[in-house]
């Protein structure tokens, strides 16, 4: 229907086909389960995109590529949490924070992205399925992120005292 031909919003919201809101929510909760089934394929596709961007970033860092990577990781974090894949969501959250907070100019940053990518691949492939296993993975990844300087900082220099 063309916008000009529509009744007022109030009239349409209270139209003859109105239903109890609780019923509509319950129907959607049952129906949405079907949509969740395809998440594995979607996550694998997203990992493929991350892999492609790692290759590009390794050949020369570009702010646009980092922004694109961030968008994919952010989406993976939110979508996996929506379907209850907590392991993937936690690894994505770790990578999202690393991109937000750490200095992308540091060459080790690509390695950290690669580690997160490998971790997510492991989880999607069925490895590290238990909560304890993926939490162990998160701890290891956090150590890798911790080695990177924060944005605006220089890489830490280890000062050796002459003996």
């Amino acid at each position: 229907m063309l916008p000009e031909q529509r009744a007022s919003l109030r009239q349409r919201l209270g139209g003859p086909n109105r239903r109890p809101v609780d019923q509509l929510v319950a129907a959607a909760e049952t129906g949405a389960r079907g949509a969740i089934v395809g998440f594995g394929d979607y996550a694998r596709g997203a990992l493929g995109k991350i892999g492609g961007l790692i290759g590009k970033l390794d050949n020369g860092s570009c702010a646009e590529d980092w922004r694109h990577l961030y968008t994919i990781v952010h989406d993976l974090r939110a979508s996996s949490a929506t379907v209850g894949w907590q392991g993937i969501s936690s690894v994505s959250a770790s990578l999202e924070r690393a991109i937000e907070e750490r200095n992308a100019q540091d060459r080790r940053m690509i390695k950290v992205v690669q580690l997160h990518h490998d971790g997510m691949q492991l989880l999607i492939g069925g490895g590290a399925n238990s909560r304890a296993e993926w939490q162990g993975l998160i701890t290891q990844l956090a150590l890798a992120v911790h080695c990177l300087p924060r944005k605006g900082e220089l890489a830490p220099v280890i000062a050796l005292r002459p003996r």
Binding site: R12, G14, R19, V21, L24, A32, A35, T82
Partner: protein, 146 residues
């Protein structure tokens, strides 16, 4: 808050570059019995649809590439056609901080939903946003008649 609703004559638009989240949101809206659902994977496609079909509500993700949801909201609010510029806008995002909420509201978002969201949460935001828009529309009509 409404306890009954009829969405069958409403047009809603879902803008999200994440095909999974877009499909999920569209699927939920179908179960809410929304009459017409427009899907757009980018702000550019969304704007073209809006000019043609002027949805009653836009549900948009913030973190999109290349044009993000906030830039899209700014484009919309700055549109020359007042009826398009005032379309109710529900911003979805994975960021829950106050800064994000304040920014979205300042730029003209009518509602702000944090992902992962629940279906009841989405319904609650839809109802509140649409009800406010309906009241505003009714008030404008009274003003025009007077």
């Amino acid at each position: 808050m409404l306890t009954e609703a009829d969405f069958s004559e409403l047009v809603m638009q879902v803008v999200d570059d994440s095909s999974f989240m877009r499909r999920l949101t569209v699927d939920i809206l179908k179960h809410f019995r929304v009459g017409t659902i427009l899907e757009a994977e980018s702000a550019e496609t969304a704007l073209a649809q809006i000019v043609m079909l002027r949805p009653d509500l836009i549900i948009c993700d913030w973190q999109m590439y290349p044009t993000d949801g906030l830039s899209f909201l700014r484009q919309l609010r700055g549109h020359g056609d007042r009826r398009i510029a005032q379309i109710p806008f529900l911003m979805m995002t994975g960021h829950a901080s106050d800064d994000y909420v304040r920014t979205a509201v300042r730029e003209g978002a009518n509602s702000f939903l944090v992902k992962p969201y629940t279906i009841a949460g989405l319904m609650s935001h839809l109802l509140r946003t649409l009800q406010e828009a309906a009241e505003k529309e009714a008030a404008c009509e009274v003003w025009n008649v007077a």
